[in-house]
């Protein structure tokens, strides 16, 4: 939470600085008595815009921290992946991206919150689709795999996109960090917090032959 607080402080201090300086400038403009109504309208418009900017930051954080349904249930990761890929199949198709599933034939049971885990999968898959959607047609493939590893369940999502710049493997999970022009930078930060709540871990790494692999590791549910 430390880095979230720091980045939240920065995100809020920018508009707060604008609001305070604008308000104090307006007071000084009144004292000087040389400004027009238009000047004051400009100041007020800027204050309103900054206020909205601050409110958006709060809203984003609140959305992220609001716990949904908290029930933990035993879930088959394969079934969940199937559901989520169906959900985004039409979007992927529209963008000429195919999703190839290579799911383990056995049941991959974990104990987690269904909605949370779906959100994580949705986020990771959407990122993967975004990463390949602008690239060459031959690379427009996203692969999802499940496997067991030392008693854990692993979900691997790989894209064939341009990969992450060096040093970005950890940063993509930081709040407000985004490599996308229109990104809020909250998706993977939320994903990480949800995976960690389920006792798991999430990581991203460039694949040796191109693209990014996001690995979600969750403890296997007791039989």
């Amino acid at each position: 939470m430390g880095e979230l607080t720091a980045s939240l402080a920065h995100q809020l201090n920018q508009p707060l600085a604008g609001i305070l300086s604008n308000a104090q400038a307006a007071r000084r403009m009144i004292d000087a008595g040389q400004s027009t109504l238009e000047d004051f309208t400009d100041v007020i418009d800027d204050i309103i815009a900054d206020d909205h900017r601050a409110a958006d930051v709060i809203r984003r954080v609140r959305d992220m921290l609001t716990p949904g349904e908290t029930a933990l249930t035993k879930l088959d990761v394969n079934v969940l992946i199937d559901g989520v890929t169906k959900l985004i199949a039409s979007d992927a198709l529209l963008r000429n991206v195919s999703i190839a599933s290579a799911l383990s034939p056995e049941t991959m049971a974990v104990t987690a919150n269904r909605v949370d885990l779906e959100q994580v999968l949705l986020n990771v898959l959407t990122n993967a689709i975004d990463a390949v959607a602008v690239g060459p047609a031959s690379g427009r493939v996203v692969t999802v795999k499940t496997a067991r590893s030392n008693g854990d369940i692993r979900i691997l999502v790989r894209d064939q996109g341009p990969g992450l710049p060096p040093g970005f493997e950890h940063r993509v999970f930081e709040p407000f960090f985004s490599t996308k022009k229109s990104g809020m930078g909250m998706g993977l930060a939320v994903a990480r917090s949800l995976v960690e709540q389920a006792g798991g871990a999430i990581g991203a790494a460039n694949h040796s032959t191109g693209g990014v692999v996001v690995t979600v590791t969750l403890p296997s549910a007791a039989e």
Binding site: A9, P15, G18, A25, R28, D50
Partner: protein
């Protein structure tokens, strides 16, 4: 880059945040300074030379590409040592200490009061005026 105002000193405001630039520009104009706003360190570095005297820089610490602290380093090494006031929305003790050690006139945490900013600007311009009468801080 926009030059405005007619005052006795020039203040360069360098911040990547448009709203902060606009607000500080207004505030400084009410105190009758000339104001130049730049959205990046690079834009400032393209300012017509020599810089007017007295002048000072109000510089945001956290900016993409060249950060405020990087620019501060670069300006220290320059022949014309323009006084610097650092501003930050991400104020931590270490950064403030580093900025001060590198000779910043002041380090202000956003949001800051007009009184604090204007006092720092007065001090910075006074410093630049004195440096000029002493033959300038030529290195």
């Amino acid at each position: 880059m926009t030059f405005e105002g007619v005052g006795p000193g020039t203040v360069f405001v360098i911040d990547d945040d448009l709203s902060v630039r606009r607000a500080l520009r207004r505030l400084l104009l009410t105190a009758d300074y000339r104001v130049v706003t730049c959205e990046s360190a690079n834009e400032f570095l393209l300012s017509p030379q020599p810089l007017p005297r007295p002048s000072c820089v109000v510089l945001d610490v956290r900016m993409p590409a060249v950060s405020g602290l990087d620019l501060q380093e670069a300006l220290r090494a320059a022949a014309r040592a323009i006084p610097i006031i650092l501003i930050s929305g991400h104020a931590d003790v270490a950064t403030a200490a580093r900025a001060k050690a590198a000779g910043a006139v002041a380090f202000l945490s956003k949001p800051f009061d007009d009184v604090s900013l204007l006092a720092a600007v007065r001090k910075a311009l006074q410093q630049d005026r004195e440096a000029s009468t002493n033959g300038g801080p030529q290195k």
